[in-house]
């Protein structure tokens, strides 16, 4: 419950954040909503000599929609995302996912950027960002760069972000047509036993395009290219669902924990993916 002491920094611009990160290296960490970092600090699983609070950095709270392109600032909270009518209009899967994350209090504080940057495979946004083929936008001492969400996650808590970089926003094209985020969990606020993000489009009576990503079924989120491909050209019937599940099962690598043994998680992953595809198809 009692975190170790730290030096607190509350800069007002990104240059100062990066200067602090450059100066203190591994001894410094940025904090967004604090709802993953503070719990880890309270358990002394993270000791951060220099804590950099991002709350006063301008621009990080912006939700920008330009035509089909959506950009979410890193400090946009789950609560703001849920209540943003224009965002829900162009990308309703964001709201559907966010409502399955944590609880009301956590959603007032927890941010999109923190969820995406954290690197815990339990987080829901990383799989969603892979499903949407989002770009993750970073700022660092050498300027800005973007990494595809599908290339961003390397291992549990290991991402493509360097220690002196800050995740400033995520961008993606508005997912048109069918969508679903389906999550199996033990209770409110739990990380997924298995979850699936699905977007697809329909042309005539068949699937024209599909993207599928799975949450908490490996040490990273899993974008299953094969699962999406298995649906394309089909009428999304039982055989197509079965083929997509088979492909997905070839890509995940769950581990046993309190949520169940590996065989159970693989079973649940199949059930959840079928439900998600069916719902996305009905909406397409």
């Amino acid at each position: 419950m009692i975190p170790a002491a730290f030096e607190y920094h509350r800069p007002t611009n990104m240059d100062d954040v990066i200067a602090l990160l450059t100066k203190h290296g591994d001894d410094a960490r940025v904090m967004a909503g604090g709802h993953s970092l503070i719990p880890m600090m309270k358990l002394r699983m993270a000791e951060i000599p220099h804590l950099i609070d991002l709350q006063d950095i301008g621009g990080l709270q912006d939700i920008t929609i330009h035509g089909q392109r959506v950009t979410l600032g890193a400090m946009v909270t789950q609560h703001e995302l849920i209540n943003h009518a224009a965002l829900t209009e162009v990308a309703p899967i964001l709201r559907e996912t966010a409502l399955q994350i944590a609880d009301p209090q956590v959603r007032y504080m927890g941010t999109v950027g923190g969820n995406v940057a954290n690197g815990d495979p339990g987080n829901d946004m990383p799989g969603l960002m892979q499903c949407l083929d989002a770009q993750i936008n970073l700022a660092g001492p050498n300027g800005a760069r973007s990494v595809a969400a599908r290339d961003y996650y390397e291992a549990a808590y290991m991402t493509a972000r360097e220690d002196d970089e800050v995740l400033v926003s995520v961008s993606f094209d508005s997912p048109k047509s069918g969508y679903a985020y389906e999550k199996q969990k033990r209770k409110i606020g739990d990380y997924a036993t298995a979850a699936a993000a699905v977007t697809l489009t329909k042309d005539g009576g068949t699937v024209a395009s599909a993207s599928i990503a799975m949450t908490n079924l490996s040490d990273v989120p899993v974008w299953s290219e094969g699962a999406g491909a298995a649906l394309i050209g089909t009428r999304c019937d039982a055989d197509a669902l079965k083929a997509a599940v088979e492909a997905m099962l070839g890509d995940i690598d769950p581990t046993e924990d309190n949520r169940g043994p590996v065989a159970f998680k693989r079973h649940v992953a199949g059930v959840i993916l079928k439900r998600a595809i069916t719902r996305a198809w009905d909406r397409a």
């Binding site: 419950m1 975190p3 002491a5 604090g34 719990p39 709350q55 609880d103 009301p104 504080m109 409110i188």
Partner: protein
């Protein structure tokens, strides 16, 4: 030892200033420095919501915020919602509908419910249950908490209508 910071908060309409280490959790600053002991500590993993307060218009678990982060904030706790002589509508409803037993979750419950009703004045039972999902209760089984909040919503809406 890190240096103490000069912290300013507005708590229940009153300006408070004190010194605190940045690592001090807001709940402890409220309880131990400011002697506002309504908000409670029920866990160390940010699940229970017994420490819930309203901070700058948000329902916040004050165990998951450093006092440094809250510097400059405006805070309402259960103590700011009503007084024994003049109960808040929610406090009256929790009493009337037996929405509490040991009372340990109650300050967080009522503070959260006040924000919920502000954002959604006419919630369904399902919306109340979902909107209160960040607050755990060991005693009531939630049923009477839901009744209390729905009753308070009716009460607030009736008095709003009467005022028009």
């Amino acid at each position: 030892m890190t240096q103490k910071m000069h912290i300013k908060l507005t708590v229940n309409g009153e300006d408070r200033e004190f010194l605190a280490e940045p690592r001090e959790l807001l709940i402890y600053a409220l309880r131990e420095t400011l002697n506002i002991t309504g908000p409670h500590v029920g866990c160390e993993t940010s699940h229970c919501g017994a420490c819930t307060i309203t901070l700058n218009g948000k329902s916040v678990k004050s165990c998951t915020m450093f006092v440094a982060q809250a510097n400059g904030a405006e805070i309402t706790t259960i103590e700011g919602l009503g007084s024994p002589d003049s109960l808040h509508v929610l406090q009256e409803a929790f009493k009337e509908h037996h929405g509490l037993q040991c009372g340990f979750c109650t300050p967080g419950m009522i503070t959260r419910a006040s924000k919920l009703l502000e954002e959604n004045p006419t919630p369904t039972e399902e919306e109340v249950r979902f909107g209160m999902a960040g607050n755990i209760c060991r005693c009531t089984g939630y049923q009477n908490i839901v009744k209390s909040i729905l009753a308070a919503a009716n009460e607030l809406n009736a008095s709003k209508e009467a005022a028009q």
